[in-house]
Symmetry: none
Subunit: 241 residues, 4 copies
């Protein structure tokens, strides 16, 4: 009866060209499978492979958002089969969460370091901080991670929570400490920043959002903006000169 002869019709060739031609959303770009198809690409370190998937996922999720992202595209970009994703991640959501886990932790490390340098003038601390943000976040893929946290966070309480726990709740006290020290040294006449360390983080959020929404239309002079914000932060309040 020929077991091997049992063959069934297939269709195989799958339209992967992610809806190019759509003019309203996501104008151009959009995922392009590198088409590198080693028929059995054994001997790739699993960690590398996982990283490849995460990299691909970052691109795809950033481009389309969680819901619209297609794991097909992630797999294609990562150069693996669809099923392979599930060897490394339980499901789409787990992939997404792992992707965002530790999104901005490097910044945290830097801020911690700054908090350990008590004698630095506040202005300089801010310059270092914002400089670091520009070089290590804005200029890299981490920008996309942070953007995803901000844009998908409302729909993923767990991710928002994790971000709060891992980043925000640790960063703010550090900033507070730095600000307090500056205030103690007389560098700040008001405790506004001490009470609201978020004032230091504001331009980071603003920059990420502006970049995501308007950079194509009207790029922001980010260094200038950050400098301007810094100047505000270190200013003396009116009437206290």
């Amino acid at each position: 009866m020929g077991n091997t002869a049992r063959v069934r019709e297939r269709r195989s060739g799958k339209p992967k060209a992610a809806r190019a031609g759509d003019a309203k959303r996501l104008p151009k770009a959009v995922i392009k499978a590198p088409a590198k198809k080693r028929s059995r690409p054994h001997k790739v370190a699993p960690a590398e492979r996982k990283q490849a998937i995460l990299n691909a996922a970052l691109t795809v999720f950033a481009e389309r958002g969680f819901e619209a992202a297609r794991l097909d595209d992630v797999a294609a970009r990562a150069g693996v089969a669809k099923g392979t994703l599930y060897l490394y991640f339980k499901d789409k959501e787990a992939l997404f969460e792992e992707l965002l886990r530790g999104a901005v932790s490097p910044i945290l490390a830097r801020v911690t370091a700054l908090a350990e340098t008590p004698d630095m003038p506040f202005a300089q601390t801010l310059d270092l901080l914002y400089g670091f943000f520009q070089k290590e976040v804005l200029a890299t893929d981490r920008k996309l991670l942070l953007r995803l946290v901000l844009t998908e966070g409302p729909r993923f309480p767990r991710i928002a929570e994790a971000h709060y726990r891992n980043v925000v709740s640790r960063m703010l006290p550090l900033i507070q400490k730095i600000a307090q020290r500056a205030a103690d040294r007389g560098e700040l006449a008001s405790d506004a920043v001490v009470r609201f360390p978020q004032l230091v983080a504001e331009p980071i959020i603003t920059t990420i959002i502006w970049d995501a929404l308007f950079s194509k239309i009207k790029p922001l002079d980010v260094p200038g903006f950050l400098r301007a914000h810094r100047d505000m932060l270190i200013a003396k309040p009116r009437g206290q000169s």
Copy 2:
């Protein structure tokens, strides 16, 4: 009409993960049709009906984001049949865009008014502006609109563009004008705000984002925060006391 020839533009289904009742995301909420089904929708003005749809859409889109939002839910919430949506909007995307069109225009009007009031001290202008934001945006559904602009904007260039055109590009020059006047009056020692009127808008963005992500975890003292930011804006730069 030839069934096989029917081609439709879509983008996709919905991942299993987002089902209602899922405890990890979107805790409860889940849209609940008011089920008010007068068997005769007697004399409902089309404009009213359209508004009902838009209201429903705002809730649903805000709750789930564009992709995950179900028109079924919108229709149910609006108390109309699903097909009815298509009498008022070409498709899901058109509904979404119309929803966001003019998202925050009321603020614009207010800022315009402020710009016409040349003699007001800058501090007071800011208080009025931020107060208006709190009462007319943060405390209302418009908060959701603005949130949607910020979170979905990256995936909807047209919406970002419209928002830039309708709101941002009009607001910033007004602020600039106000700031310039304040500077001219010697109220500001630096032209930072004149060069970067975004500095005035920063706390609005920050507040919207914080509200969307962390309000459940750690509510922000919004009035205090806005006052602190205001104080910064009107501060004298260091060394100029």
Copy 3:
């Protein structure tokens, strides 16, 4: 930008010809979509439509078992779109359970009726019962339902339970009552059937199983078999003559 022009590649024509050519399992037959495709078959009473789906489901489930059955095939056989199934049934399992609900209830009605006819000789009661089984179950699609209960029951505790509750637990006492009456009239010398009314149901199970497994190889003379079983049931035990 021409919304209507947004068209994307498709593949459409789907291989529906369910694995014909498979020689080891399910030799021949196998689902054949009637291909009647009214492009919008409105105006079919919903009850009718549901019944069409249930009928199709019966065939497909009986042919392949629950797990291997494809809802694609059910839909094709029912002449509806895949999505339509979900208008009538929550999911595959719900369809399956509803299909089996009340599988053999008509028999129950008949047995009840027989139990209300006290004066009938036991032999005649059995003839009526088995005759009814032959005509109303074995010769109809209900045979497949009963077969499904027996073959899928072990994997579907809920279905087994429902069958026990709805059919078995009601039938056995009725048989018991009938048997008791027969015993009281001296028609039976032993209380074996009274204690084990299952003895009456045995040939029904045996017949269904034989039919499912061996009818192609060696058909069973069902009427003869049932008569033989009946003779056994009404016999006098040894040594009590």
Copy 4:
């Protein structure tokens, strides 16, 4: 070998419904790999290994049925790698068929032996037979084998056929012979059992099915039931006392 050209025979995935942990079906159980993973499978005789696989397969197939059974689970239970299964069995189906081959042959041997013992009273022969069934089938894993034959047989004509050839077609003539001898000795007043030796096998089928479906709900007094059936078999027909 050309990835795109690779065509494989399969039949399908697995519906969401049947996931482990699902409370509605297959209450708990869910296969649990003993996780004994000697890093060196030192000297395990291939025959032993094969038997381990078959044992594991029996459990898994019995628990979920052929389609829903996962080779992953079989491998885990057998303590081998998934690929190893394919060293011993061509594919899932071959494993299943080998598993069921000779399912109940031990009984056959016993019946043969009984058929060679001409002088035993029929009642005693039945007691031995049913006793053997209880001890060697019902109380052991062979129960699961027989259950699988009955429940999967309808979908596996080859298995049904093999079972008929190997077991049924050999057993029935033996029973017939025994029954004939009993009849010749005047132990039976009718030739019903001679014409339908299935009457002897009935309670075996009934018992297996009852056990599979209802044992949790309402356990059957198997010994009593078998004795009752035996009494029926050796009874004198009415009117011949």
